[in-house]
């Protein structure tokens, strides 16, 4: 270690970088780390495609409505699941690990506001989602007769459903990151929750064929509304006949997702901690 070059100038008049500039900096580093980490590549990219291939191969050709195969229904559900994977599941597992390995403590010690950290996570989630959904859509179109919508209205629905879903689930993921006791056990706590929601929200089974109590249970959570909105984007309007309400209910979908954005925001502000319990 040569010390000859290390000097300390008296602090200049330069002021600390703004929260947004630091947030953009966080996005860059989050993406770099995310795409280099093999675990996240498996969880976020390989698994959804694998599920799509398996379910598509087993049940794909079953007709579940007028001219609609289960594969088409399932792809829409997996795209909705992609929102939950890349935001809620990703963050609720990654943040406890960052709390364990010292990332959060190190960040707490630098002049960065919490909001820049959150901006970094939101940026990461959006990029990861776009990448995952692109992959799912390519596989869906190539192998499972998924039809890309040709009208702007449906694409508009796709965008608002994705954005509302991502914001809601990102905030819920940040809040939920305080539940796992440590990083190692986080996926064991988080993955079953996502799985149960997928089973009950119309991803692995046709929602209208589920028991009534299960439908009511799932209606509390955002994934049910997200799958419904995604079906309205990727399935023909004739498929409304297999919805419980007989229609897409886009207004209710938007309202429920917006409500979860508010719930997520409140919960993340109240519950999020840099430290492990008892360490402040």
């Amino acid at each position: 270690m040569s010390t000859s070059t290390l000097t300390r100038e008296p602090a200049g008049a330069a002021s600390v970088p703004g929260p947004l500039a630091l947030g953009l900096r966080r996005i860059r580093i989050e993406l770099k780390v995310f795409f280099r980490d093999r675990n996240s590549a498996v969880w976020n990219f390989a698994l959804p495609v694998l599920l799509l291939v398996i379910f598509g191969a087993v049940f794909g050709s079953q007709d579940i409505g007028p001219g609609i195969t289960f594969a088409q229904y399932f792809v829409a559900g997996m795209i909705a699941s992609g929102v939950v994977y890349t935001s809620f599941q990703n963050l609720a597992i990654a943040i406890p690990m960052e709390r364990d390995d010292g990332t959060l403590k190190r960040l707490q010690g630098v002049p960065m506001p919490k909001v820049s950290y959150f901006i970094g996570k939101i940026g990461l989630v959006f990029v990861a989602y776009v990448a995952q959904v692109t992959l799912l859509i390519i596989v869906g179109v190539a192998f499972y007769h998924l039809h890309l919508p040709s009208d702007l209205g449906r694409w508009f629905t796709f965008v608002w459903a994705s954005v509302l879903g991502l914001v809601a689930c990102t905030l819920c993921g940040i809040a939920f990151s305080v539940v796992p006791k440590n990083g190692k056990g986080a996926s064991a706590v988080v993955s079953p929750i996502v799985l149960v929601l997928q089973f009950t929200s119309g991803v692995f089974f046709v929602f209208s064929q589920l028991p009534h109590w299960m439908q009511i249970f799932a209606s509390i959570f955002p994934l049910k509304w997200l799958t419904q909105a995604m079906r309205s984007v990727f399935l023909p309007d004739s498929a409304q006949s297999i919805e419980v309400a007989g229609q897409w209910e886009l207004g209710r979908c938007a309202a429920m997702l917006a409500l979860w954005c508010v719930i997520g925001l409140v919960m993340s502000l109240v519950f999020f901690r840099w430290n492990k319990r008892g360490q402040n």
Partner: protein, 302 residues
Amino acid sequence: MTTTTSDPGSLLVPVPEDADLAVRVRGLRRAYGDTKAVDGVDLDIVRGEVLALLGPNGAGKTTTTEILEGYRHRDAGEVTVLGIDPAKGDRTWRSRLGIVLQTASDLGDLSVEESVTHFAGYYPDPRPVGEVIDAVGLSEKRTAKGFDLSGGQRRRLDVALGLIGNPELLFLDEPTTGFDPEARREFWDLIRGLRGAGTTILLTTHYLDEAEVLADRVAVIARGRVIACDVPQRLGGRDESLATVFWREGEEDRSQSTHEPTRLVADLAQRLGGEVPALAVHRPSLEDIYLSLIDHDSEETS
């Protein structure tokens, strides 16, 4: 002249009242449940000095430093760090601190250069990235990923990230854990260089030789209180304690404790006719003093 209300003969030697303080702590207390982790700590760190904080595990070192760093809140006491209460420290205040924490295993997927460059971006006035990487001796590992660094190299990266913001006050929590002897010497040179450039440093360490070499003053903390604080040469009355002279006479190993070792050696030289066989003069090391302070403290309180 004094700032603390210490008894005459106390082992706490206060700093001059007009000293320019980087850190001032009075009556700091913090309990976890029924455990009083910090139980009335008084501490001054003068601007530009290296203060070593010593003490057994569980004595309250980490709680004290983490309160100063703004990580933990306190139950009672006055604390100012660079003129500001850490509980109310804003980002500008934080940008003047450098913190090297104990163990971390983050940044594994980033190269040394990527990590240091990234963290430079948090500060208004960072040091040049290449300069800092050179200074901690990682130039040859610039492109190595965190996961591929050895324990000592990881520790150097931690130090680099603590230095990159050009801090006025640097917290080093057991910085040389995992260093080989050569790396520790190099690290000591780095710290001397930083001190020479005017950086105030709070060093927590278990290595007493490190404290002796680097510290302007040493504070010993036990059971949540500072029980001794002085320059290393005088800590705990070290300069006034007896020296022991060892030598061999005939077939017999002999030793004698004395306040006047020079006179004893001269007498021996005369008596034994020149070279004294197996001659050694032993002064209590900082470690001897430290251990007796800690022992004494636990006897007194138990």
